[in-house]
Symmetry: C3
Subunit: 331 residues, 3 copies
C-alpha cells in the first residue's frame, strides 16, 4: 500500500499534466495549483476526475504503462471539470453525474484508441469531447441534472461588437488561451499553467506561446470581435494544436513549426464552425477543433516528406517527453 499509494498519486498528477501532453507529475502539481487558486472546487473535480479515470482503467485491466503515464486520467479529468462548469460545481447531483461520466469515459477511451489504431493516430481528447458533448446536450432532458429552467439551444447568429484589439485584450488573450484549456477565465491561471509547461521543458513552453500568438493573430485577421478574443475562447485550441504538432507527435523542427502554426490557425478558424454546428442542439465546441485539426494534420503529415523527413522517428524530443507518442508510432 505504501508503494502503491504514491504511484497512484503520481499517475493522477500526470493525468492533469497530460492535458497538455506532459508526462510529468511536477507539472501536474503546478496545474493543480493553478486550478485550485482559480476555484478550489474546480481543482477538486479535476483531481477527482483524474483519480477516478485512472482507478477505473486499472480495475478494468487497461495497460499498466498507459495508467502510470497518466494517459487514462486526462480525459476523465476534463470530463469531471466540464460537468462541474456546465451543471454547477456545488450540487450533489453534479458530483454523482461526474463520477458516472468518468467511469464511462474510460470505456470510451479504450474504444477510441482501438478505432484510431487502424491509422496509427492517437486518441487525444476525443473521448472527452464525445462524453462532454453527450452530457451537456442531454442534460436539459433530465430534471435532476439541469439547474436552469430552459435549454440553451439556439440558432447561431452573426458576430457583433468592435474588432479593434487593445494591448490589454492581447495580453489577456495570450494567457487565457492557455487557461481556457481547463475552462478557467483567470489570466493568472494561464501564467501558472505556462510556468508548468516551461518547467517540463523549454520547447513545450515556447511552442505554447507561439500557438497562443497564432490564435490571437488568426482570430484578429478574420475579424473576430475583440471581446471573444480577449476571453480566450477562440485560442485555446490553437495552443493545443501547436503543442501536439510540434514536439509531441511530430518532432520540433524548423519545418514542423510552420506546419504546426498552420494547424493552430486552422483550429482557430474552425472553432466558430464547430460552435455553429452544435449550437442548435445546445452543444459546445470544447476541444473538437483541436482534435479534428490535429488528427487531420497528423494523418496528412506522412504524405508530406518535405515536412516530415523519414529520419524524424529517430529524433527524440527530449524537451517534451510524452507517452502519447507510443500510440502515434503504432502504425
Amino acid at each position: 500500500m505504501l508503494r502503491r499509494g504514491p504511484r497512484f498519486a503520481s499517475g493522477v498528477l500526470r493525468g492533469l499534466a497530460q492535458v497538455m501532453f506532459l508526462d510529468s507529475a511536477r507539472a501536474g502539481a503546478v496545474f493543480a495549483l493553478a486550478l485550485w487558486t482559480a476555484d478550489w472546487r474546480y481543482g477538486a473535480y479535476a483531481l477527482g476526475g483524474a483519480a477516478l479515470g485512472t482507478g477505473a482503467a486499472r480495475l478494468l485491466g487497461a495497460p499498466h504503462d498507459r495508467v502510470r503515464a497518466g494517459l487514462e486520467g486526462f480525459n476523465s479529468c476534463l470530463t469531471a471539470l466540464c460537468v462541474a462548469v456546465f451543471l454547477g460545481a456545488g450540487r450533489p447531483a453534479t458530483v454523482v453525474l461526474a463520477a458516472g461520466a468518468c467511469l464511462v469515459v474510460t470505456v470510451v477511451t479504450a474504444a477510441v484508441i482501438r478505432l484510431l489504431q487502424v491509422w496509427g493516430l492517437p486518441a487525444l481528447t476525443l473521448p472527452y469531447c464525445l462524453l462532454a458533448g453527450a452530457v451537456t446536450v442531454a442534460a436539459p432532458a433530465f430534471r435532476r441534472i439541469w439547474p436552469q429552467g430552459h435549454s440553451i439551444a439556439a440558432l447561431p447568429g452573426a458576430a457583433s461588437g468592435p474588432t479593434v484589439l487593445r494591448w490589454k485584450d492581447v495580453a489577456g488573450a495570450f494567457f487565457r488561451n492557455v487557461s481556457q484549456v481547463f475552462f478557467l477565465e483567470q489570466w493568472q491561471a494561464g501564467v501558472l499553467l505556462l510556468a508548468g509547461l516551461f518547467l517540463a521543458g523549454r520547447v513545450a513552453g515556447w511552442v505554447a506561446c507561439a500557438g497562443s500568438a497564432t490564435g490571437i493573430l488568426t482570430a484578429w485577421a478574420l475579424g473576430t470581435p475583440a471581446a471573444r478574443i480577449a476571453d480566450g475562447t477562440m485560442g485555446y485550441n490553437a495552443v493545443l494544436v501547436a503543442l501536439a504538432l510540434c514536439g509531441v507527435f511530430l518532432a520540433a523542427t524548423r519545418t514542423t513549426l510552420p506546419y504546426a502554426l498552420l494547424g493552430a490557425a486552422t483550429a482557430t478558424a474552425l472553432t466558430p464552425a464547430v460552435a455553429a454546428l452544435l449550437a442548435p442542439s445546445g452543444g459546445h465546441p470544447f476541444t473538437w477543433p483541436f482534435v479534428l485539426t490535429t488528427l487531420g494534420f497528423l494523418a496528412a503529415a506522412r504524405s508530406f516528406p518535405h515536412v516530415t523527413d523519414p529520419t524524424r522517428r529517430r529524433t527524440s524530443s527530449r524537451s517534451a517527453p510524452s507517452l502519447h507518442g507510443d500510440q502515434a508510432a503504432a502504425d
Copy 2:
C-alpha cells in the same frame, strides 16, 4: 420452388427475429404475431420489408449464410416499419417509398459491413438508422411523400412534467421498452415479444428484462419526466444494448453482465442527446443510442481483460444462438 419457398419464408421470419439478435424462425413468427395484433398494417410492412431486403440481397449476390440467417432482413424490416409509422401506413406513396428504401438499405448494409469489418465490429442496425434518418429528415422536402403541412424540425427544449413514477408507469415502461423496438406503444405487444425472446432462450429473455429494468432505473435517477419513461421511448435502446453485450457479441458471464448493464445505462442517458442533436433538422433517435453504445463498448471490450478473458471466444452462448457473431469474430 417447393423447397425454395419455405426456405425463403424461414429467412424472412428470421429477419424479424434478428431485430432482437435471434436466429430463430419460430421467434420471428411470434414477433410477427405481436406486430399483427397491434396493427395488421405494421405486421404487413415488417414482413414485406424483411422479404424485400432478403430478396434484394439474394438478387445482388450477398453471401448465402447471411441471407438464410435473416441477417439481410432485419434492417429492411425496421426501415419499412419506420416509413409506415412516420409517413402514414395507408398511403400508396408510403408503400412505394418503403419498397425503394428496402432496396437501398440492402446496399447500405453491405457498405456498413465492409466499413466496420476493419475493426471486426458488427453492422447492427446502423444501416437502418442511416436510411430511416435520411428518409424522415428529407421527407418534408417532397410534396408527394410528406402528409403533414409543415416540418417537425424544432430546437430541443428542456424537459417538463412530474418525475414521480407510479407502479403503473413502471410496469408499462417495462414492457413498452421492448415493444418500442418495433415502434409499438401497446404494452401487450411487449409481453408477446418478450415471450418470443424466452422461447428462443432463457438467457436472452432474462437479459432483456434486466436491460429494460436498467433503462427505467437510469431514466428515473436522472430525472426524466414520468410520461417519457412510461411510453417506453427512453428504454428500448437499453434492452438492445443488454442483449448485444451479454449473450450475443460477448458471452453471457458474471463479468459481462454488469458491463452490459453499464452499457444499457449509457444508452439510456445518450437517448435525449441524440434526440437533441437531430431535433433541429426534424430527425429522430431511432436506434442510434444502441448502435453507438454497442459499437463503443464492443471496441473497448478487447482492451479490458478483466471483463472479457481470453477464453471467451471458445465459450459458445447456446442459449442465445446468433450468426451476428460471425461478423464480430472476423478480426
Copy 3:
C-alpha cells in the same frame, strides 16, 4: 522553366477536368471556358484555386503522378469557387481567404486519402466538402469575412410551390444539373461542360446525360417543387454519382449502369436530407450527397458479385480515362 511551366499549366487544367473525373487537359480547357463565359471572376477563382492546390501539393512533396493528373487541383478549385460564390467574388478579403483555404484543403486531401485508404476508397470531393462546409458555417462569426448582416442559419421548412414540370423546366434542369457542379446557374454553361465530357469520351458523356435524367425523374416522382428541379440544385449530385459508378471506379457495363442509376436516385433523395441536417447551422449540402452515396455504393459493390464480376478490374474503361482509379485499386 520552359518545360516546367507547360507541365504545371496542364496539371492545373486537369485539376478542373478532374471535378468530372477526367484526366484531360483539353476537357479542362473547355470547362474553364464554360466558367469564363458564365462569369470571368468564377473562371479566375477556379483556375487560381486549382493552381494553388497543385502548387501547394508540389511544395509539400505530394506524389508526382497525383499532381500531374490534376488530382491535387480539383478540391482546391471547387473550394476557391465556393468561397467566391458564398462570400462575394469581388472583395479582397475573399481572395485572401480563398488562398488560405486552398492551402489547408491540400492538407485535408492528404488526410482524407490516408483515412479512406484502409477501405481502398477514393477521396472524391470529401476534402472540399469538409473545408467548404467549415468556411461557410464559420463565416458569420468573422466580421471581415461575412458580407451580410445576419447569419443564414434556419430551421428547415416543408417544401411549397407547384410540382407540375413543364418541358422548359425539364430542359433547363437537364443542363443545369451539370452546370451546378461548378455553382453555375446558366444552362448554356451546362451545354459546354457536357461538350467537354463528350470530348473526353462518349461513354462519360452519355452516362452524365443518364445521371441528369435520373435526377430529374427521381425528384419529380418524390414531389419536389418544379422550381427546385429547374434550377439544377436537386440533380448535380446524381450526375456525379452516375459518372463515378459507371465508367470511373466501376467499369461501364450492363450491370453497373442500373446500379449507378440507383445510386444517382439515392443521391437525389439524399440531397434535401443533407440540406436539412446543415440548415440550422447555416450550412449547405455542396457535394456531400454525391460523396456519401458513392462511397457507400463503392464499399458495397465488392459484396455483390452479380453487379461487379471478378473480371472487372481487367476491363479498362478507355473512354473515361482517370487516375482516380489507382486509389480505388489500392486495396
